[in-house]
């Protein structure tokens, strides 16, 4: 009896330790979500910040706007292409560079530099070095006999993909390398003694052991590329036209450029629902595997 009341007291003080975090998240994430929900059913504007109920008008406007589907399509395609390239390149690089890096952590550090840079500043730096007239890259290419306008209409899509891939392949590389390095030396030795070498040991022993890390990298990179904003915003602002408008940039433009607040909020809610669905599905997959 006294034991159980002691435990309850412990539980109570444990709950007390959680209270600040819960209050904080409730106030700064829960409350805004509720505001969003209300706004999505109201005619909110910069003049009328409370808004009056208008039913599902905003959702109808959001869904019937082809530009939303374009932006969603852009984000999905962008995320798929970038994730595939990043993970594939990183995986190959892990197997090539692992023996070189295992005793030289400073070399790994050099490869990690790009992902420490703010994506917005990375975008500005690429804007400088890709500049048609004075940027270093076009100048060298011109000297080699190629004239490429990286920021022109024809190449801009490839350029924003390439920047994302160049900045975040190191991230995928790091996670996979960390996973690769935790495969113990003894296990590799044992595999070698059993006659599994080279590609066979790679495919039958290393890859299965790195599978959880692969799942995480794919998930994290997909989510991050899907919500891309920073480098595209500073590079193109979503243009030319809507060519590089991701879903995040689309919501930003609805809100700050076109001032169609209700529609912007409705798209936000739809995006929230999609993200939650994606997270739940991904979690189910991970849990089932482990």
């Amino acid at each position: 009896m006294s034991y159980s009341s002691f435990e309850t007291k412990e539980q109570a003080s444990a709950r007390a330790l959680l209270v600040p975090l819960c209050l904080f998240l409730g106030a700064l994430l829960g409350f805004p979500t509720l505001i969003n929900l209300w706004y999505s059913f109201s005619d909110v504007s910069f003049q009328n910040m409370i808004g009056t109920f208008v039913g599902v008008d905003n959702y109808v406007a959001a869904i019937s706007n082809p530009k939303m589907w374009q932006a969603l399509g852009f984000s999905l395609k962008f995320a798929l292409i970038c994730t595939t390239l990043e993970v594939a390149v990183a995986l190959v690089l892990v197997f090539i560079l692992h023996p070189l890096l295992i005793k030289r952590p400073w070399m790994t550090a050099i490869l990690m530099l790009p992902m420490m840079v703010s994506p917005a500043l990375m975008g500005v730096m690429y804007r400088l070095i890709l500049n048609e007239f004075t940027g270093a890259v076009p100048v060298y290419l011109e000297m080699a006999g190629y004239a490429v306008n990286f920021l022109g209409r024809g190449n801009i899509y490839k350029t924003v993909v390439a920047i994302e891939v160049l900045q975040w392949t190191p991230f995928a590389f790091l996670i996979l390398l960390t996973a690769r390095q935790t495969v113990s030396y003894e296990l590799e030795e044992a595999a070698a003694v059993d006659g599994a070498t080279g590609f066979r040991s790679t495919f039958h022993i290393l890859l299965p052991m790195m599978k959880p890390a692969l799942v995480i990298v794919i998930f994290v990179r997909f989510i991050d590329s899907f919500r891309v904003f920073d480098h595209i915003y500073v590079l193109t602002g979503g243009g030319p036209g809507n060519l590089t408008t991701s879903i995040s940039i689309y919501i930003y433009k609805l809100f700050f450029v076109q001032n169609t607040l209700g529609e912007a909020v409705a798209v936000s809610i739809l995006l929230l629902l999609m993200s939650l669905t994606l997270i739940v599905v991904a979690m189910r997959l991970v849990v089932r595997r482990s």
């Binding site: 412990e10 709950r15 409350f31 090539i96 420490m116 703010s118 400088l128 390398l177 919500r227």
Partner: protein, 281 residues
């Protein structure tokens, strides 16, 4: 004979690995390298054709950036330092006790921990509009504290995951000993867990500071003048009238330097924190 052929093959592979490393390192770091070099060139060297790799360095652009009449860059640097530091401290203060309670008493472990870990997967733009209106109502628009709160939200998931991993590794016997001595949970946390947490605290601080420093979206939406962070302020140098190459490059270099330096120490934790989240979350 066989042995020597084998070792020759080995050294060829070894060389190829080095070639791949140098090529990849140059490729991914090219914008950083190029920008940093440009920031130290005189205007004449910047416009030189073909581009110069060897030149006598100058600090004139750094002086110009820090004394610019149009862009108050040193103020933006200060903003970023304050915002990132405060946001990081808030996140630590909120998550360390929570992690302790979750691991030791299991409170909220099955529902709250997964919810918070998954927060980092949500597109932040979803919260941009309500935050704008909320901040406008309570006067937090364009304030450092307003952005520090955002930083805190962004860093809570990673801080919580790392602290949960840490508390799991603290031997339970230490807690029990303190409990027998009559220490309450708060006291145990303060006197036993906190002193042990220094290494993980440093890791959380580094990662959290880097992520806060690099934040752009909310800086763009929620600030106009007084609380503008470096990431947003640096873009002011690129105007529609044209780009002043030297000062822009100097501003970029200042803006990327703190996370680059911290990143040299922090990068191993990024790998570990990501993998820990999956195994334990």
């Amino acid at each position: 004979m066989i042995v020597s052929r084998h070792s020759r093959l080995d050294s060829v592979t070894h060389c190829l690995r080095w070639v791949v490393f140098v090529a990849v390192a140059l490729l991914v770091n090219f914008p950083i390298l190029s920008t940093v070099l440009t920031s130290f060139k005189t205007n004449a060297d910047i416009n030189a054709y073909p581009p110069k790799w060897i030149f006598s360095p100058t600090l004139e652009h750094y002086r110009a950036v820090l004394a610019s009449p149009n862009v108050n860059y040193s103020h933006y640097i200060m903003n970023s330092i304050v915002i990132a530091t405060l946001g990081t401290i808030f996140a630590i203060v909120l998550t360390l006790p929570a992690a302790y309670a979750m691991v030791r008493q299991g409170v909220g472990r099955t529902w709250l921990l997964p919810i918070i870990t998954n927060l980092r997967a949500l597109p932040l733009i979803i919260f941009a509009i309500p935050f704008y209106f909320m901040y406008k109502q309570v006067g937090l628009l364009d304030t450092r504290i307003g952005l520090a709160l955002i930083s805190c939200i962004i860093n809570i998931p990673i801080a919580l995951v790392m602290f949960v991993g840490f508390v799991q590794d603290v031997p339970r016997e230490l807690d029990d000993a303190a409990k027998i001595d009559g220490a309450s949970m708060w006291k145990t946390l303060w006197h036993v867990v906190l002193p042990l947490s220094r290494p993980v605290m440093l890791a959380v601080f580094l990662l959290s500071f880097i992520y806060s420093w690099n934040e752009f979206l909310f800086g763009l939406i929620l600030t106009t003048k007084s609380a503008v962070p470096v990431t947003v302020g640096a873009t002011f140098f690129v105007t529609s009238r044209g780009i002043e190459w030297g000062p822009t490059a100097a501003a970029m270099t200042i803006g990327i330097l703190p996370p680059l330096i911290l990143g040299l120490f922090a990068y191993p934790y990024i790998g570990k924190s990501m993998l820990a989240g999956a195994v334990k979350g």
